[in-house]
């Protein structure tokens, strides 16, 4: 039966390929959506990852940067700096808001850097200065390309105008770009004084980050202190959870579509070989073997679709990135494995309709004209 199955598929290779293409498209939609969420979530913690202090200190009860608000009195920075086990502290102001440049609004993390604080600023520059002085702003290079602005042009946050002095790399994403301004300017934008949003604390050599975070929370009133890894995990997990429901529904929809496509293809292939099947049955081949053949066809088409989807997802990434530079895609092995398991279930489910058809084939029909 294996040979017969493969022969059938080969004889109808155009239909098989088209069907696999349809299945691949259905799977690709799911993979792309998950890749977008993974890419965005990864990019969301890019700033935290690259600045990489040992401990992050923020307002009590806050454990995120994404969409969070944190304000801590600035004298607490001095208190933290005086603690044993602390090598250095730098602090930033931070707000989620809209940056306007080149007649376009873009939602961004805006980070206020102390003058000369290169440690908390952009880690890779495409052009210009990484540390903005008052009246200056550093924008993601991708953003500048998207809106057609260059160094020396103007960007605004609310009614405050900034001169673009630097273009940073790896700081752009669809929903979480990072812009850097001077601390003093952001104080004015936020109408706050004597406060910071986050402290980036570096531990002395030999000082464990977990222990230092615990001591900071104990000794400094109303602050939360998280190790670098805890902070990254906290933001990353929240971002991914925001997309879980959408990914779930897209997986269901994509899988349903794949089931229908495969069921259709296998059905057509089986129905075209009705006479052949009758002969096979008349020759004594059991229904079980024919069902196996139907399932095999289904598995083959699904597997081909799955491979095509992965190839398209991985292989076409550079093309997609060029076409849609605003979106960051990341395909995880876990997502591929999950899709593989779903594909297997899909193929078995899709074989049910044609299998019913096979069961109804009468061997006597083999002897009819």
């Amino acid at each position: 039966m294996l040979r017969w199955t493969l022969k059938t598929l080969w004889l109808q290779r155009t239909g098989t390929l088209a069907s696999a293409g349809g299945v691949a498209g259905a799977f690709l939609m799911v993979l792309l959506l998950e890749a977008v969420f993974l890419g965005e979530s990864t990019q969301m913690v890019s700033y935290i990852e690259h600045t990489s202090p040992d401990v992050w200190v923020m307002q009590h009860g806050v454990s995120n940067m994404h969409m969070a608000t944190s304000f801590v009195w600035d004298w607490k920075e001095d208190e933290v700096a005086k603690m044993s086990g602390v090598e250095s502290v730098s602090s930033i102001l931070y707000v989620n808001t809209v940056v306007r440049a080149g007649e376009r609004d873009w939602f961004a993390y805006v980070v206020g850097l102390q003058s000369g604080d290169a440690r908390s600023g952009p880690w890779d520059m495409a052009a210009g200065s990484p540390v903005p002085e008052p009246g200056e702003i550093v924008l993601p290079e991708m953003f500048s390309r998207a809106v057609g602005i260059q160094i020396g042009d103007t960007a605004t946050i609310a009614d405050t105008r900034f001169s673009v002095v630097g273009l940073s790399k790896e700081t752009f994403s669809m929903t979480n770009s990072v812009a850097f301004v001077n601390f003093v300017d952001l104080e004015k934008v936020l109408s706050v004084g004597a406060t910071v949003s986050y402290m980036l604390v570096d531990a002395s050599p030999g000082e464990a980050a977990e222990a230092l975070a615990d001591r900071i929370e104990t000794e400094i009133d109303k602050v939360s202190a998280l190790t670098q890894q805890e902070f990254i995990t906290s933001d990353f997990e929240m971002a991914m959870k925001m997309g879980v429901e959408i990914i779930f529904f897209m997986t269901i929809i994509g899988s349903m579509l794949a089931v229908v496509i495969i069921a259709f293809t296998t059905f057509v292939q089986v129905s075209r070989r009705f006479h052949e099947l009758a002969v096979v049955k008349a020759l004594g081949v059991q229904n079980r073997a024919i069902y196996g053949s139907v399932v095999l066809q289904s598995v083959f088409v699904t597997s081909l679709g799955y491979v095509l989807a992965i190839s398209a997802a991985v292989g076409a990434m550079p093309l997609i990135a060029a076409l849609v530079p605003e979106v960051i895609f990341l395909v995880s092995p876990m997502a591929l494995a999950r899709m593989g398991a779903i594909a297997l279930a899909v193929s078995v489910l899709a074989a049910l309709v044609p299998a019913r058809l096979v069961a109804g084939v009468d061997p006597v029909s083999a002897f009819k004209a």
Partner: protein, 377 residues
Amino acid sequence: MFRLALRQFQFDLLRSSLTMAAIAAVIAVILVLRGFETGLYEQSRAAVLDRGADLFVAQTGVTNFVAVRSSLHQLARREVEAIEGVVEAHPVTSFSVIYQNGGQKVPVYILVYDIRGGPANLLAGHMPATAREVVVDRSLAHKFDLALGDPLVISAFEFRVSGVAADSAAFFMPFVFITYDGMLDFVMKSDIAPDLSAFPLVSHLLVELEPDVKADDVAVVIESVVDNVDVYLPKQMALQDVQMGQGLFGPVMGLLVSVAYVVGLLVVGLIVYADVRGRMRMFGVLKALGFRLSHLTSSVMIQTLMYLVAAFPLGTLLGWIVATLIEFVAPLYRVPIVDADGLAQTFFAGIFFAVLGGMVPLRLIATIDPIVAFRGN
């Protein structure tokens, strides 16, 4: 040719049903994806229009209402209310915070209002009557199983849920409505900020105008009289928020919808191709009878369009079921399926697929030898 196509359509009902199911599934996927994108923008639009303002006053340079920081100076309200034609300028402010409960965290958008600007679609309960009461969007109530009277703890400050509202979310964030009294208590007694200055007390003014006053004219007067403000009509502000959403989500949704269209094209092409392959003998007979290629092509096209016309309501129904299910399980999202533009675009895209898909087997039909009509199965 129409009759021939109709006969073929009726001949094998199981096959026709499966074909329609495949096309309907593609239509449903496209409609759901489009609906998801439309829903994102509708939420942004509703977040502005549901505030009940005749005009929006924002800080100079601020063109949006949601997810943006705007801060109006203390005298702005009084100055706006002094202008002829203005009944009242209702202050609102907003900020996002992270709500944590049972190991889950979500960003929520706190909208602070005085009289106007609160929840527009109250599903249950009542508007906040005390500083501790809040109205939450139903998606938040659903996700965290919050009922009326339940505590809602944000930054160690305990509110009580007094009401649940529908359609109060934007940019993946459910809204939480509190009063100004609530905000003062919240900021003073919680860990949310060191002091009141951390948040703008007034981010926007919702201007209520006298009847028969031209909003455009008043907007011009406000901008000329009050320093450091920009004034927008609600529709204009809503459009700007929608445009921001399109800038954020447009590329990725566009990509997904494009992939869905490609899948649609493949499926319709596959169906037509399989159909022609399955009827080679019949086409051979028709050729032997003297039918021209154009006749046979018309027959294929008509049948494909028949499938499409029959599958479209089914696909719309399927899409509506999926969308309703999504909104039920995750009420944070709105997935409007039935909008004239979306349906029309999807239908015409389907016709395009049908025509393009119908071209796939043309070569096959052209090369059919009439002799096959005289061969056995």
